[in-house]
């Protein structure tokens, strides 16, 4: 505490400059967080937070003991991990590929075009996917020899994860690469010079200058991604899935959605959301700890 006061005395301006932001988070993030109490209540909009009955962990238990809990959690994790495995490196690789190009016009064109799919609504992307994977769709016909069978691809449980993840990458790689492109532009050109003088070829330069140069960005992004491990694009799953492929396609958010058709239970959905958040936060803290120990980068 004493050190804090001393620190304040030495750097008054920094403290005052931070104040507006702190106020913002208190008012617009922490105050409404009081609403999380819904997770522990049998919430009724009429009774509000103060009047609704307290039920402790009942909502959570209800979720954990629901008949499909294991399946939907497994599916959610599977999709997120696959997304992490393939979808996380993709924008980095794209950024690096672009970085090697000298042709300005080509580079700019590819950059601009690559982030177009991000702006397409989920409904359109899913519409395209559904058309392409229909019984006589182009994609179905194309991969039929590989699969050994044909038919609506979205009716095959084993196809859902590859389709979902690959189309995620397709839609997001350009937009996600922007951050890395910006990070790449910050890498000190002097360091490239020094490496070249030391005789490093293009590949070595990439390995020893470029990647370390953007490593802090990569690590921070990775840590942040950990927080969303139990979150999957709800709208996209909803538009693509059907009851024949629930075993791989039904995720936590869609399951809750279906359960809500009879109930509209805000307490229950808040509880599930809270569960997701807690797991996410634990993962971020863990990732941050590991990062602190083995690299110079840390989120907090």
């Amino acid at each position: 505490m004493k050190e804090l006061v001393a620190n304040y005395k030495r750097h008054k301006m920094i403290y005052w400059l931070t104040l507006p932001v702190i106020l913002y988070f208190i008012v617009f993030s922490y105050l409404p967080m009081a609403g999380l109490v819904m997770a522990f209540q049998d919430f009724s909009p009429r009774k509000g937070f103060l009047g609704s009955e307290w039920v402790g962990l009942t909502n959570f238990v209800e979720f954990f003991t629901s008949s499909n809990f294991i399946r939907v959690t497994k599916n959610t994790l599977a999709l997120s991990l696959l997304d992490l495995l393939f979808g996380f490196p993709a924008p980095i690789i794209l950024a690096l590929l672009l970085n090697e190009i000298k042709g300005r016009l080509f580079k700019r064109t590819v950059q601009t075009v690559s982030y177009l799919p991000y702006f397409l609504s989920t409904a359109i992307i899913c519409g395209l996917i559904i058309d392409f994977t229909g019984s006589s769709g182009p994609l179905t016909t194309a991969i039929a020899p590989l699969l050994g069978k044909s038919g609506n691809l979205l009716g095959m449980p084993e196809m859902f994860r590859p389709l979902f993840v690959s189309t995620n990458i397709w839609q997001m790689v350009g937009y996600n690469s922007i951050i890395y492109l910006a990070a790449l532009s910050r890498v000190d050109t002097d360091q490239y010079e020094a490496a070249r003088i030391d005789g490093a070829g293009y590949w070595k330069q990439c390995l020893h200058v470029t990647i370390p140069g953007i490593s802090s960005t990569i690590i921070i992004m990775l840590i942040l991604n950990m927080g969303h491990l139990l979150t999957v694009n709800f709208e996209k799953v909803l538009l693509l899935y059907n009851s024949a492929i629930y075993e791989t396609a039904d995720v936590i958010s869609t399951y809750i959605y279906r359960q809500g058709i009879l109930n509209h239970d805000y307490g229950y959905s808040t509880a599930v959301g809270l569960f997701n958040s807690v797991i996410g936060m634990l993962l971020i803290i863990t990732a941050n700890y590991i990062s602190r120990k083995y690299s110079e980068t840390r989120l907090f």
């Binding site: 620190n7 301006m13 590929l97 397409l120 359109i124 006589s136 397709w170 532009s185 921070i220």
Partner: protein, 291 residues
């Protein structure tokens, strides 16, 4: 510069791969554009990627979209919200990122933990609605700009970027008697143009695409942003069976309208990106400031 065979081969593959990626990314947008100009009957029957509009070229979809009385007003509203939101947002986010990136600011790490916390934990719709009501912001532009003023993800990106500015620059400025504010404005900001540009883009796009806060907090049609009007055009007449059936003619157009609304909503944003791109040129400033 001498290039080895290996390097040339690599570059060739690089160009080819990038061209392929560009094509794959262009395809769906091109399809959307073609679809938006197609005739509804042919469009409904179509099951493949459209290189050209299906059936006859029709502007019927666009005429339905622009027939909505509120659409032009909503464009203006969105411009207002985007401008206000972006200016306020980037200022506060950059300020926050700056202070939290200073190694001599002791509470920084703890504050970062608390702030990251807010990224994951959210009270949900109802408490936020009540808050906006109690603050008297309901039905005002502030309800759309203030709550989203500082996005944690953006804050973290900028902070990481600011941390990357060489400490030596800061120290030499301090020796010359520079205040924190001076360092922020004259050293950190100029050297972080790329990241600032990126975050400006992200904030602008976020506000441009935003519709959910407006659906919660805005009561007057005259204040609706573009996305709400577009959603209204898209959803109307087909959410429930009764009206969907009664308005069968309109529901048949739904596919066509879907594509038109995306083009209407996206084109303006796409126009901004080339301006942002120029900040991505490599290592521009650092060499200049040094020495």
């Amino acid at each position: 510069m001498d290039k080895s065979i290996g390097r040339r081969l690599f570059l060739a593959m690089d160009y080819a791969l990038l061209a392929l990626i560009a094509l794959l990314c262009l395809a769906p947008m091109w399809h959307t554009l073609s679809a938006s100009l197609s005739s509804p009957g042919a469009l409904n029957a179509n099951k493949s990627l459209l290189l050209f509009p299906a059936g006859e070229i029709t502007f019927k979809g666009y005429s339905i979209v622009f027939a909505n009385a509120s659409i032009w007003k909503s464009y203006l509203n969105t411009l207002l919200y985007v401008t206000g939101g972006t200016l306020l947002g980037i200022t506060m986010t950059a300020l926050g990122a700056f202070t939290l990136s200073r190694s001599y600011f002791r509470p920084a790490n703890t504050l970062m933990l608390l702030i990251t916390f807010t990224m994951l934990f959210n009270g949900g719709m109802i408490p936020n609605y009540i808050l906006i009501q109690k603050l008297g912001l309901y039905n005002s532009a502030w309800a759309l700009i203030l709550p989203t003023m500082v996005n944690v993800f953006h804050l973290i990106i900028l902070r990481t970027s600011f941390q990357g500015v060489p400490v030596s620059l800061e120290e030499s400025a301090k020796l010359d008697g520079a205040s924190d504010l001076y360092i922020f404005l004259k050293i950190i900001l100029p050297l972080s143009k790329a990241s600032i540009a990126v975050i400006v883009l992200f904030i602008a796009v976020m506000h441009w695409n935003s519709w959910f806060p407006a659906s919660l907090y805005i009561a007057d049609r005259a204040k609706y942003p573009l996305q709400i009007i577009l959603r209204e055009i898209l959803i109307d007449g087909s959410t429930n069976m009764t009206s969907g059936g009664a308005n069968a003619s309109i529901t048949m157009y739904k596919s066509l309208i879907k594509y038109c609304t995306v083009i209407v909503s996206t084109l303006p944003v796409l126009a901004i990106y080339p301006f942002i791109q120029k900040y991505f040129a490599k290592g521009v400033m650092i060499g200049a400031i040094k020495g």
